[in-house]
């Protein structure tokens, strides 16, 4: 039997699933036609396979062999189950999506300044004439899984900052997979529309609480107006039964700035694509990421920065912490197009292997078509410094504790860049909790 034949029944399942839920999906009849076109794009291409260069190290077979269904309604978890995912002391606006459906009860959006819109994406689509399922300002959203998302997404966060609007508190966008029922999928789509001179910080948080396998497929669009600034902290804490795929697309106008921080701590398998297109002068993108596969987790980060025109800047720094049988992938593509003179770009990726069973493929990938640019890149894979381990032990700290403390030290500089103390502490504590012996030193965070 050929691979294609094996896959087909699975694609049929998603065609049938779409037919089942189409009527309930948000948006106008026109937008349903857009969804149908996206569904065809997905069914024609199928799930990405390891034969594709971009998917060489990440097999989606565990997702393909299951038949995930859209949840018709949310199984809202108890307050107790959610409490560990609300960072202590975080003063934020909050929008909560459970199993792909907006939860008004769990959200808290009072006190937003004038000019700031934070609402359910579904509500926005239903209430807005001519609203499109995909942002028109974004050139393209390649990939069959983004097409799948465009066809199926049930809800998400729609954030719009009118020109000049500055929100001084972060907006916590919490997407929860209840895991209450077997083989459910949450297809969420967020859109952040940043008007001229606007500024906002979004904590895009994915968590899973239940015991059943589920699939999260998320897409986030960021439309960056002139001189706007978006800080996006993506915190991925899917359950160990969760399969997570997400894509981010930012299209940046003149003088705009994107600070994207990714923290991948959860999921059985996670694949994250982070894309920024600098289409106008003096725009900047900063991509920072920490990924920490432990146990048998597989975490794959692919990033792509397009410098499409002159005088733009990118900074990229990823760190991997891999323990047990953890498997990590980092691929950072930077394309400096022909007209992108005076591009200033720097990228580095470091990985720390804490076990001899852990494995990482980390690769910077530069394509430069302009001749007057600065582009630096570097990649390291190493282990903990045994001198430092001995130093800590000679002060009375046990073997595991010494290793946890030094691992914390390795990741700390990138976590700190988030700049929100409550979130920094939360992420550091979550990272320490994953490390053997780390729990005892959770107060480092």
């Amino acid at each position: 039997m050929s691979a294609t034949q094996q896959i087909e029944p699975n694609i049929d399942h998603y065609l049938a699933e779409y037919a089942r839920v189409e009527r309930e999906l948000p948006g106008s009849d026109d937008s349903k036609r857009e969804r149908q076109a996206e569904l065809r794009r997905f069914s024609d291409a199928g799930f990405p396979s390891t034969r594709e260069e971009d998917w060489k190290y990440t097999s989606l077979r565990p997702i393909e062999k299951r038949r995930f269904e859209i949840s018709d309604e949310a199984d809202t978890p108890s307050e107790k189950a959610l409490a560990p995912f609300l960072p202590a002391g975080l003063d934020a606006f909050r929008i909560v999506i459970v199993d792909g459906h907006f939860s008004a009860v769990l959200s808290g959006l009072d006190g937003l300044p004038p000019g700031a819109t934070v609402r359910s994406f579904a509500a926005y689509l239903n209430a807005t004439d001519g609203a499109s399922i995909k942002a028109r300002e974004i050139d393209e959203e390649p990939g069959s899984l983004t097409a799948m998302n465009a066809a199926f997404f049930t809800d998400g966060a729609y954030i719009e900052m009118a020109a000049g609007t500055v929100v001084d508190k972060p907006i916590h966008v919490l997407s929860v997979a209840s895991g209450a029922r077997d083989e459910r999928m949450t297809q969420v789509r967020h859109r952040y529309v940043m008007g001229e001179n606007s500024q906002a910080t979004v904590i895009e948080h994915f968590v899973g609480v239940g015991d059943n396998p589920y699939f999260t497929n998320a897409v986030t669009e960021a439309v960056m107006g002139r001189n706007s600034q978006l800080t996006r902290c993506r915190v991925q804490q899917e359950s160990d039964k969760g399969y997570h795929v997400s894509s981010f697309f930012a299209q940046q106008r003149r003088d705009s700035r994107v600070f994207n921080h990714g923290f991948d701590l959860g999921g059985r398998l996670a694949r994250i694509d982070t894309n920024a297109r600098l289409v106008d002068q003096n725009s900047e993108v900063h991509l920072f990421g920490v990924y920490a596969p432990t146990g048998r987790q597989h975490i794959d980060n692919h990033t792509r920065i397009d410098h499409a025109t002159e005088h733009s800047l990118s900074r990229e720094f990823y760190k991997g912490v891999l323990a047990d049988y953890g498997r990590g992938v980092f691929n950072g593509k930077i394309i400096i197009h022909r007209d992108a003179q005076k591009t200033d770009s720097a990228q580095a990726c470091d990985a720390l292997l804490l076990s001899d069973k852990a494995e990482v493929d980390a690769k910077p990938e530069l394509e430069i078509y302009a001749d007057d640019v600065t582009a630096a890149h570097g990649s390291t894979v190493g282990q903990l410094d045994e001198d430092a381990v001995f130093y800590l032990k000679s002060r009375g700290i046990g073997e595991e504790g010494a290793r946890a403390i030094l691992t914390y030290s390795f990741a700390n500089s990138l976590v700190n860049k988030v700049g929100i103390p409550a979130l920094v502490s939360y992420i550091e504590a979550a990272l320490l909790a994953k490390l053997p012996g780390g729990q005892a030193y959770a107060d480092l965070a």
């Binding site: 410094d385 045994e386 001198d387 430092a388 001995f390 130093y391 800590l392 032990k393 000679s394 002060r395 009375g396 700290i397 046990g398 073997e399 504790g401 010494a402 403390i405 030094l406 914390y408 030290s409 700390n412 500089s413 700190n416 030193y441 480092l444």
Partner: protein, 253 residues
């Protein structure tokens, strides 16, 4: 306090210590001198439990313990302290955090409760004055962006905080200007008491002008070839290590 008998150790199959015999009674300061490569630092490292050295023969008794059977962290909890020749940097983990963790590890080991925050800070305030460090400095990451002299001051600060019963100082005096050297010497003298012992591994006699040792030992090719009082350091400075070959023959015969 410390009794070393016929200690042999090697690294990667290469013998470095070749039969060390040394007794250090409680309350005494002993200086270990000798040329480069004689095994001075190896001795300090073996006593602190560094794993890359393999002990092939001999025994070490510390208080009532077979020292070599304890893990490095257990040795620390039993009161052994190693002052490093090259202290490591640990960005993002503050000096204070490390010290509190170290003190609490000891307390836990002895079945005692954790130190109260206020008592800890009082202790810090008292000890940083001794070594001329600021509160701002000790709140920074461990040795993060410290100069060579600041790192050594920090080792002495840690030693004063942890109050070891056996301090092993591995060339803590190397590469220091006179002010920092005085800080190091002052720290060692402060801890001098009938219950504590100190081993000074040093290259230079200079430190011994500020810390007068009870005994001086000369280590050469992995053996102690000569021992004497503080005056031995003066002899060594005058004569150098040139006569050690004959001493070695005397020691092994």
């Amino acid at each position: 306090m410390l009794s070393i008998k016929n200690l042999h150790a090697e690294v990667d199959g290469k013998p470095i210590l070749r039969g060390i015999n040394l007794d250090i009674p409680a309350g005494e300061i002993h200086a270990i001198m000798g040329p480069n490569g004689s095994g001075k630092s190896t001795l300090a490292s073996v006593l602190a439990g560094r794993e890359e050295y393999e002990v092939t023969q001999g025994s070490v008794t510390y208080k009532n313990h077979k020292l070599l059977e304890l893990d490095p962290n257990e040795r620390a909890c039993e009161g052994v302290f190693l002052g490093f020749q090259y202290p490591v940097e640990i960005p993002g983990v503050s000096n204070l955090y490390l010290l509190r963790a170290a003190i609490n590890a000891r307390r836990k080991y002895h079945g005692e409760p954790e130190i109260a925050a206020i008592d800890f800070m009082k202790l810090v305030q008292e000890k940083i004055d001794y070594v001329g460090m600021s509160m701002d400095m000790v709140k920074r990451g461990v040795n993060e962006d410290f100069s060579g002299g600041e790192k050594k001051r920090n080792e002495i600060f840690q030693m004063l905080m942890l109050e070891p019963t056996l301090a092993l100082l591995d060339e803590t005096d190397s590469g220091l200007d006179i002010d920092a050297l005085k800080v190091v010497a002052d720290g060692i003298n402060r801890l001098r008491s009938p219950e504590r012992s100190t081993v000074l591994v040093t290259h230079y006699k200079r430190l011994l002008e500020y810390v007068v040792p009870d005994r001086v030992h000369v280590l050469y090719k992995g053996q102690i070839v000569r021992s004497g009082g503080p005056e031995l350091a003066d002899t060594l400075e005058a004569e150098g290590y040139a006569n050690l070959e004959t001493d070695e023959t005397a020691a092994t015969s």
